[in-house]
């Protein structure tokens, strides 16, 4: 089973078209293994991206160096998945 420990989901706000293009540049960097939940399209639309733990620092540095604002939408993806599994297992056990 694939685990997502330390993966973060960032919500990026591109202020203008140039910043959208910068985020698109990020998208093309395959080694970062980014998973765009909401794609960069146009300024004003939020961009959500799941960033694997090894890429978190590089992505944040990239965004900050281009003055692109972001917030951490999900701090640790795996902890939410664990919560989700725990809830499903508990309900299943109760049903049994």
């Amino acid at each position: 089973t694939e685990i997502f420990v330390g993966h973060q989901v960032l919500r990026i706000s591109a202020a203008d078209e140039a910043q959208v293009q910068k985020v698109k540049e990020l998208e093309s960097l395959e080694h970062l293994q980014l998973d765009f939940w909401r794609d960069p399209v146009r300024p004003g639309l939020p961009i959500d991206v799941r960033v694997p733990f090894p890429s978190v620092q590089s992505v944040k540095v990239f965004l900050e160096s281009h003055d692109i604002s972001y917030e951490i939408m999900i701090e640790d993806v795996q902890s939410l998945l664990d919560e989700e599994q725990k809830q499903m297992s508990a309900l299943r056990a109760r049903a049994l």
């Binding site: 089973t1 694939e2 939940w37």
Partner: protein
Amino acid sequence: TTDTFNYATYHTLDEIYEFIDQLVTENQHLVSKIQIGNTYEGRPIYVLKFSTGGTDRPAAWIDTGIHSREWVTQASGVWFAKKITTDYEKDPTLKAILEKMDIFLEIVTNPDGFVYTHKTNRMWRKTRSRTQGSLCVGADPNRNWDAGFGLSGASSNPCSDTYHGKSANSEVEVKAIVDFVKTHGKIKAFISIHSYSQLLLYPYGYKSDAVPNKEELDKLAKSAVTALTSLYGTKYKYGSIIDTIYQASGNTIDWTYSQGIKYSFTFELRDTGLRGFLLPASQIIPTAEETWLALLTIIDHASKNLY
């Protein structure tokens, strides 16, 4: 029974398929199960048919879960199925719809992907088909339809999450629906449900031209969104795919519209809590409840404006 089934939690494919069987057993006068095909990995693909009788009737189609990681959509599909059985004699709007039309509901449109999200990778979105010459697996079933196939807004890279597949309808999960829709021939409303961005969209996705019925679809989308928002205040935007989000070629509703299904819509369900695809299970029922109001609005309009 389906009365004690827990609608406020996520379920595996086996559990959903057991639910389907149970629902059919409990409501044989209204619900039947149709197998429209098999997945790439050989799983059956089921559609529920809700019908109060008659033959050769027009129909509405709803599908959920074409992108496997969008779990709130399959969970909402389960809730819709139950809702139809509990309300069809009580709710005058639904009753009137079912007197004229059948409703088809495909709860798990991408079963292989869905199983994969439960067992191996919760973030899986595509099908599980193999591409010759590539180690990467799967195609995006919402880029695999024969409408602007392969144009901008889909990827030709098999490793991409928006890979359009080898050719239009190359994904058996897509082809099964294509064959069903063509054979049926009287589907008048087609609603494909995704998550998450809180949007209600109509064609086109692959080109910026306005659809010939734009004015009517826009007005209907507005009514549907108003109904949805009335329950919990969830804010939705609406419009054509290309104008509202982005260019997406080979998508489901561009194809259905090209087949003459005027009322072709796609939803992106809610994420009011900034959890994206990991929407807490506590939000399943509110999401389904509000979406149901919008679905009823669209299908009711279709039933009153049969063409």
